[in-house]
């Protein structure tokens, strides 16, 4: 079902959603002493939206899986411990103008969160969120979504997908929830849109991303399965500082740590915080032994998890090609380069 919406119509729609009390999350310009960037943020008015510009610097992860979530509060009285939920119900939210890589990531992480255990903390916010994506009209040298099964205009994970056209957007309602949203706010959607009107920049962006990286994911997966001890791993981690900025910026990395924080002698909070396999602490045992003793083995873990372990279990890869790991890396690590080397090695072996 394809509609059409004008620039002013979209602004009016966003303002109406905000006025109804629903949280709206959209890319907005943020001025920092480090410079200006686009970031997904909770916005207070449609004027704040910055739907075009550089690749959005954060992912949507913090909105579905916040960096720190209180799980419950505890109180101890002698031998008895009483627990109470720490947070209320998740608020209804609408994400507008999200990139394809960020939307696809939500579906990819869904599978982990609903695998051997149904994770309420994740699904509570996930189910309360309507996702409206926007096909990308820009890409940089670190984008590689097309190499991992996505693309600038890939609709995966979208309830509604927007595609830029002259003076507005085509709006494709893709899920029941998307259709319901379009009918609820029907007054802002003009008429049936024609897919041929889409901005040619979308196609150009796809072509640009395709030239950044071309790999055979199946061959890489099979190479990884057979080459855990390959000498390649001795070089990959050299420049890595093990800081974990890559994992924190990544839309699909989802590991967490659980901590108890006392707020007094008898009471406190149990929280769930983001964690990363890139630090030594992640795997260190109580004895002091660490099975991942250096950065090379931690980089191997990150690559294996994304391109071998997750695919073995769920079919596709734990990566959407957003390129943030490359952009944030202080050491100049480059996943595109690593994947190229693996692809070449896989080809040579077959």
């Amino acid at each position: 079902m394809t509609f059409s919406i004008s620039d002013s119509g979209l602004n009016a729609l966003v303002d109406e959603v905000i006025a109804s009390g629903t949280t709206v999350i959209a890319p907005a310009l943020v001025k920092l002493s480090a410079g200006e960037r686009r970031e997904y943020q909770k916005i207070g008015s449609a004027q704040k939206m910055a739907l075009t510009g550089a690749i959005v610097s954060n992912s949507l992860k913090p909105f579905i899986m916040p960096p720190s979530v209180p799980l419950f509060r505890y109180t101890r009285a002698k031998a008895a411990v009483s627990l109470e939920p720490a947070t209320g119900k998740a608020q209804a939210a609408v994400v507008i103008g999200a990139q394809a890589c960020d939307i696809a990531a939500l579906e990819i992480v869904d599978r982990v969160m609903d695998w051997d255990y149904h994770d309420e903390v994740w699904f509570e916010r996930r189910k309360a969120t309507t996702v409206i994506s926007l096909a990308c009209t820009q890409a940089d040298a670190s984008c590689f979504c097309t190499a991992v099964g996505s693309g600038p205009d890939h609709p995966r994970g979208s309830d509604i997908q927007l595609l830029r056209k002259k003076g507005g957007y085509l709006a494709r309602a893709l899920t029941e929830s998307g259709k319901a949203f379009c009918s609820k706010y029907g007054s802002h959607f003009e008429k049936a849109g024609d897919d041929a009107d889409r901005d040619p920049l979308i196609k150009e962006t796809r072509e640009k991303v395709e030239t950044n990286l071309k790999i055979d994911l199946g061959a890489i997966r099979s190479f990884l399965t057979r080459n855990f001890e390959h000498e390649l791993w001795n070089d990959f981690g050299l420049r890595c500082h093990g800081c974990g900025a890559c994992a924190f910026a990544c839309p699909t990395c989802h590991c967490f740590d659980i901590v108890d924080e006392p707020e007094g002698i008898t009471h406190g909070v149990r929280r769930r915080n983001w964690d990363t396999c890139q630090t030594a602490k992640f795997t260190v045992h109580a004895s002091g032994h660490n099975p991942r003793k250096d950065q090379n083995s931690r980089i191997r873990q990150r690559v294996m998890h994304k391109f071998q372990i997750y695919p073995e279990r769920f079919g596709d890869v734990l990566c959407t090609g957003c390129g943030r790991c490359v952009r944030v890396c202080a050491g100049g690590m480059n996943l595109l380069e690593i994947l190229k080397v693996l692809d070449k090695s896989a080809e040579a072996k077959s």
């Binding site: 960096p67 924190f248 480059n334």
Partner: protein, 290 residues
């Protein structure tokens, strides 16, 4: 540049060192490289995009690099201060590293920033730099380029923060720290953060909460700044590495200023001068002890 490549090649061929830690052109900007074969010395570059402070790779925490064998390291004057810091604090023996010093005309904010340096693109630490010729060097290479343009950003922001009433200043930092996710990039890239077990990772007792909330973030960033007082080499790598864009260099600059005023000490690349934290002087200010 030829001089650098030839020297690195010779050091590796002679077996003086097993690895040369330097800079190469990466896929998106200049980045660190670890040259172990003489032929690969051709990869080495030195230019205004050599932003990174490579001294972090000499830290004992980097076991995978230490395993390669004795290293030579390419440093700018500012980086030499960090190498000297590691020697001063017994993390590294002077004879265990060959220091290749580069005469420096300043570097850009980011390793991907092309073009000549301007007040907008030059790194904050290059303003008024007095160590464009590292003294710690075993080999000092290149001609001294003209002084870099002056960036005023950080100093203006510092002055602006100093003028704020305390409550407003607290609000400024509280807002900044709100963005922190506690990835610890600021710690991991810091050449002077070499503790095998950081106070933040100690959980019995938990001195610093690891959660990215106001309390945890404030205790972490203030502790980090305090631990770096009189030790920080002002490379601003913490600030560059921060995915949330926190102006962490400001805190370290302010601490350096306090140390300078209180202890007449400035971090230099002379490893024989003890730092205030590592030395006791009867004249040290102590009026706060009552």
């Amino acid at each position: 540049m030829r001089e650098l490549k030839n020297l690195a090649k010779r050091l590796l061929e002679e077996g003086t060192v097993k690895v040369v830690i330097g800079y190469e052109e990466g896929p998106v900007g200049v980045r660190p490289v670890f040259v172990t074969r003489p032929a690969d010395a051709e990869k080495l570059v030195f230019n205004s995009r050599c932003v990174q402070n490579l001294a972090a790779y000499l830290s004992r925490r980097r076991g995978h690099i230490a395993r390669l064998g004795k290293s030579a390291i390419v440093v700018k004057g500012c980086d030499a201060r960090a190498v000297a810091g590691l020697i001063r604090e017994s993390q590294l023996k002077r004879e265990d590293v060959v220091v290749i010093g580069m005469r420096c005309g300043g570097v850009a904010l980011r390793p991907s920033d092309e073009g000549p340096l301007t007040p907008e693109t030059v790194a904050d630490r290059c303003s008024g730099c007095e160590s464009r010729e590292p003294k710690l060097a075993d080999h000092l290479l290149g001609e001294l380029p003209p002084a870099p343009p002056k960036a005023t950003r950080m100093f203006e922001l510092m002055a602006q923060i100093e003028r704020m009433p305390v409550a407003e200043r607290f609000r400024f930092w509280a807002e900044q720290f709100e963005r922190c996710m506690r990835c610890n990039a600021c710690r991991e890239v810091c050449p002077m953060c070499f503790c095998e077990r950081c106070i933040q990772d100690k959980s019995q007792p938990q001195w610093i909460e690891t959660s990215p909330h106001a309390r945890g973030n404030l205790s972490w960033h203030f502790t980090h700044a305090m631990h770096l007082a009189g030790r920080c080499s002002s490379c601003d790598e913490c600030q560059r590495a921060c995915p949330a864009g926190l102006p962490l260099g400001l805190l370290n600059r302010k601490m350096a200023e306090i140390v300078r005023n209180r202890f007449e000490y400035q971090v230099s690349d002379d490893s024989t001068v003890p730092s205030p934290i590592g030395a006791f002087k009867q004249q040290d200010p102590q009026e706060f002890i009552k």
